[in-house]
Structure formats: structure tokens, C-alpha cells
Symmetry: C2
């Protein structure tokens, strides 16, 4: 696989335009309607967003002209184009790198000047980080994790740093006999998880726990009965206190049933596969120089799982660029 | 030519990462060194930016790991990779769409709420607009304009809205017998043009005039003796006052020698060629809904040149997506 540039196609222009249009959609709140894939009118968008039909009509014109909406038969009805979800996934990387991280990029000089106050002054918007992460994740690590959880026949799944619990809700929707616990430190994320669970009709089988991952060391009760404990892009935060991280891993190991799996998706330092080296370079650099987080290499991650007592540890790079799915079996 | 997504390649991740890394480079001021193509050390970057070698060393590691720098033989020397300029061009679209326009995108709700103060409150950074426009332009409309100016055998070229006069300085550097006038409203742009002209050794043949395009109606003296008058992405601003625009065109027509050419590169409303429709949709939409600028269609542009007295008007779409090169001959 070669990654040569095809400049005649001006591919950058397409990606940039779709990213900007979808970002505007997310900012004004029409993304839920577009994402649902259902048919809608401009009036429907006005109801969801509270904006005028005139302004929304112009946005619909722009999306249609860009090929991101298809007009349905009938009177002024639209739905997302067939390739909309593919585009949303691809531009998730742009949305994360350039929009969610814009406080870092646009104040790079302050961060690199050893200005201690920069990290406090220029903070990212949590919602933009979450939205762009979901756009990236829904086609990369979500399917990889789902496949393993299903293959393991897991009946009770605990998600650490679950965010709005999109991955877990999907797993519960797939199997009526499956239950789950979504743990997250953010009250906003927990509220979103509760709402989304109701919408998906799985709220009877999902418990949402507003707590830090580290708090499990003192009180591991949310882990009770888990066949699978999953944690996507949260462990590199926990790892900044190595002793706490080791304790969290040991707590997970103890809580799992024999044969139970700890599934961790996380990033490695400067991944060097051809398909990942650019994004992994950005991801590693932003974490180390703008967020104070040093990522381990793949081998360092594996060693940590082994040290915590997991007998079998697999690493797969078939997730997102720079990411690995670690499967640690008790 | 098909524009299908190749999601297996995660192309979006590559574009996003390069865009973010190059944006950081531009923010901290190492872009000039990278753009020059010359060999450099981390110490050289420290001298240019005033940042620490430790921090710059980490940035160099990130760029190298992303394949954007090549290590030279010898002690810690680097230069931009062979495909660096291609990447910079492609990510220019991302830098313009998502970084330069971030005040629009991130406050989309305020703009679309008919909040009259939004445009004043959330203004773009002129330098970010200029840098990203140059990254886009250097591979798209610059070569198209240069080709026509050279073919016309132009000896004296006037550039309206010249910015830092990169295009004009290039034209003067190509032919020692060529002279030019760079006209721009921005004192910052004019100062940059003067500095760059000195650096390129063409300052003896370039006059920089700090004035608006509209001011030519009252005083057309900067146009005197022009074989070619060129204007890249400035006329759509002038056009917002149609009467003034018509007067500017007539003034240009009058000032040109017989057979002289007015070369205008500008954007059309919702271009529908497959390769341009996405970026043109964004460009058109941002201008109409965030900047109060309504773009003409290609036919409407052509008609305006004809009305001003130009006998022969050609339009070419072989510039940037959504752009046209109009060649109006006296």
C-alpha cells in the first residue's frame, strides 16, 4: 500500500470542505438528524436547532451541492447521502486534529514557550473532543472491540471512561441478554449516556456510574461480575500516575471471572507502520508537548498488562492509525 | 475521474496530521525555514523562533516521524522531505477551511442566529488567512496566471490586492526586464511585500502602493503602462458594491494598452464540476452566510467583463476547485 499524494485530484480540498460543513452541522445541532439517516425537511431542522428555515435552507443547499445530502422524492425532503457516514468518519480526523485541538494549535507558541499557564488558559472544548472522537471511533476501534466482545460471549461488560457510552449501548442493543456498566468521570458524559440508553431502549440493562477510573482501586464494586472490561483511550490518562495505573490493572484482573478479558484500546508512541505514522506522530506530539502525557510503546503497554498478572496479552494494530487493541486475558 | 473514498487507507488521518503539524510550524515561525527547502539544524530553528532547542527538537522528531523531514548526512541536519511542498499545498485547503475560518465554524450558531454582532465579534486572523491562501495558491492559480502573463509577453504588471506580492515577485524574478506594481489595502501586507522584494532582489523593479482597489476609480495612476492587470480573489470583495465594481473594471479597461489583459482569478457560486463541488460549496456558503458576500456564477462574471468593454473574455476552470481564471482582453 502506497500513500502517495494525488495532487491532480486536489483531495485536500474535498476533505477540508466536508470537515468544515460537518463541523458547522455539529455546532448548530443538525448532526443528530444527519447521523440518523432518516428523511427530513428544512422545517424539521428548524425545530431541532431553533434557527430560521431561511438560514437552514441555505445550509441544506450547501450540503446538497457538496453531494452530502440527497433530495428525496416529494416536497423538499432530504436525507444524508450514501457515502455520508464514510465521509464523517474520514473527516473525524480533521475535526479532532484541527477543530477540537485548535486551542493548542493556535496558541502553540505559548505552549512551547514553557508558559506554565498555557495549559490552563487554552483548554479544549470537551464536546468537540467527544464528537470528533466518536466520528473517528465508529469505524475503527468500535468494530474491533465489538467483534472481540461478541466472540468472547460476554454477558456483562464494564466500560471504563465510557463517555456517552455509544460503544456499550451498541453492544447491549445487539443482545438482549447482555448488561453493562458505563463509568465516566464527566457528569455531562454520564447524562448523555443515560439519555442515549433510553433512546436506544437499553436503559433497563445499563448502569451509569459517575466516577473516576482510579476510584476503582478503593471501591471495585462497579467491576463485579464483568466478563469483559473495556477501556478506550482512557488508560493513557490513568497511566500518568504509574503506581495508580498498576493498581487499576490489578483491580481489573482480580474482578474479572477466569477467562475474562480486559480490552484496552489506546495509543502508542510514534507508531511506524506506513499507514499510521503521520497521525501517530501528531497524536504522540500533541499529548507529550501540549497535554503532558507520554505514551508508552506497544511493548511497554504489553509489559504492563503482564506485570498485573494477565497470562495472555495480544496487541492488534487493526484499529485507528497509531492505536492498538490490547486483549489481556485472565 | 471518480472521487470515491478509500476508507481502508484512512486518508483523512494523514491529511489531518500533516495539516496540524504544518499549522504548528506556521504558528511558531519555522515555516519559512521548512519552505525554503534548505538544510537546517535544531539550533537554526531556535534562532529563528526564539524557542528552546529542547522543545524544537521534539517538534523535529514529530515532523521526522511523520515523514515530513529527511535527516541529512552529518550531525543533526534536516531538510523538508521531497513531498513536503505537495503536502503543504494539499493541507492549505484544511488550514483555510478549519483553522483560518475557525472563528466562523466555532461560532456558527451566533452567525446563523442573525446575531448582528457576530461578524464583528468573531473575526478571522488575517495572517492565518494569508498563509493558508498562499499554501493553496502556489500550486493552483499562481502557475495558471504566470503562464498567461509570460505568454502575453507582459513587461509591466499591476497586481490588485497583491497581499505579500508573492505572485508578482515571482514574475519579476523570472524576467529582469519586467516591472510591477503591487497594490494592497493592508499596511501589513505591503510591508511584507517590500521585505520579500528585497529578499528576492527585485525591489528596484517593484513599486508597492498601499491603497484600496476602489480608489483607482478616482486616481488610476498606479495602472499606468500596464500590459497585464491581475487580481486574485479580491474582486469578489469589490463586487459587493456593484456600481464601484463596474467603475473599477472600466478604469482597468481604459488604463490597459490595446491588447492588454485583465487576468482575474476568483470564485464562482456553487461550481458543479465533480472535482470542485465540495470545496466550492463550502467556499460559496461561508462567503454568503458568514461574510455577507454573494458570489456570481461563471456566466455572471463573464457578462460583467463584457459590459465593461472587454472584447474577448475567456474563463478557465483549471485553477483551484470552485475558482476560475478570467482573461479579459482589451
Amino acid at each position: 500500500m502506497t500513500l502517495t499524494l494525488d495532487s491532480a485530484r486536489e483531495v485536500g480540498a474535498d476533505y477540508a470542505a466536508v470537515a468544515a460543513l460537518l463541523q458547522i452541522g455539529a455546532e448548530i445541532g443538525v448532526d443528530q438528524v444527519l447521523d440518523s439517516g432518516r428523511t427530513f425537511s428544512v422545517a424539521d431542522l428548524a425545530e431541532v436547532t431553533g434557527l430560521s428555515q431561511k438560514r437552514l435552507g441555505e445550509f441544506v443547499l450547501a450540503l446538497s451541492s457538496a453531494g452530502l445530502l440527497a433530495a428525496e422524492d416529494g416536497d423538499g425532503l432530504y436525507r444524508a447521502s450514501d457515502d455520508y457516514a464514510d465521509w464523517r468518519h474520514q473527516v473525524g480526523y480533521l475535526s479532532w486534529s484541527l477543530t477540537a485541538n485548535s486551542p493548542f494549535l493556535q496558541n502553540a507558541r505559548a505552549f512551547l514557550s514553557e508558559d506554565e499557564s498555557a495549559a490552563e488558559t487554552y483548554q479544549r472544548d470537551g464536546r468537540r473532543v467527544a464528537v470528533s472522537s466518536r466520528w473517528i471511533g465508529d469505524r475503527t476501534f468500535y468494530p474491533a472491540v465489538v467483534e472481540r466482545v461478541v466472540a468472547a460471549g460476554a454477558k456483562h461488560v464494564v466500560d471504563l471512561g465510557a463517555g456517552a457510552a455509544g460503544l456499550l449501548i451498541g453492544l447491549l442493543a445487539q443482545d438482549e441478554g447482555r448488561t453493562g456498566v458505563a463509568l465516566d468521570l464527566s457528569s455531562g458524559a454520564c447524562a448523555a449516556a443515560r439519555e442515549d440508553a433510553v433512546r436506544a431502549g437499553v436503559d433497563g440493562r445499563l448502569r451509569v456510574v459517575e466516577r473516576s477510573v482510579e476510584s476503582l482501586i478503593e471501591d471495585p464494586s462497579p467491576l463485579e461480575g464483568a466478563d469483559v472490561i473495556q477501556a478506550c483511550f482512557v488508560m493513557h490518562d490513568v497511566l500518568q500516575d504509574e503506581a495508580a495505573f498498576d493498581d487499576v490493572l490489578r483491580t481489573c484482573h482480580k474482578a474479572l471471572a477466569p477467562g475474562g478479558i480486559l480490552a484496552v484500546v489506546d495509543a502508542v508512541s510514534y507508531g511506524q507502520e506506513a499507514r499510521e505514522r503521520k497521525f501517530s506522530a501528531l497524536f504522540t506530539y500533541l499529548h507529550s508537548n501540549f497535554m503532558g502525557i507520554n505514551l508508552p510503546t506497544e511493548d511497554q503497554w504489553v509489559e504492563k498488562f503482564r506485570s498485573a498478572g494477565f497470562s495472555d496479552v495480544e496487541a492488534s494494530s487493526q484499529v485507528m492509525p497509531g492505536g492498538r487493541l490490547f486483549l489481556a486475558t485472565k
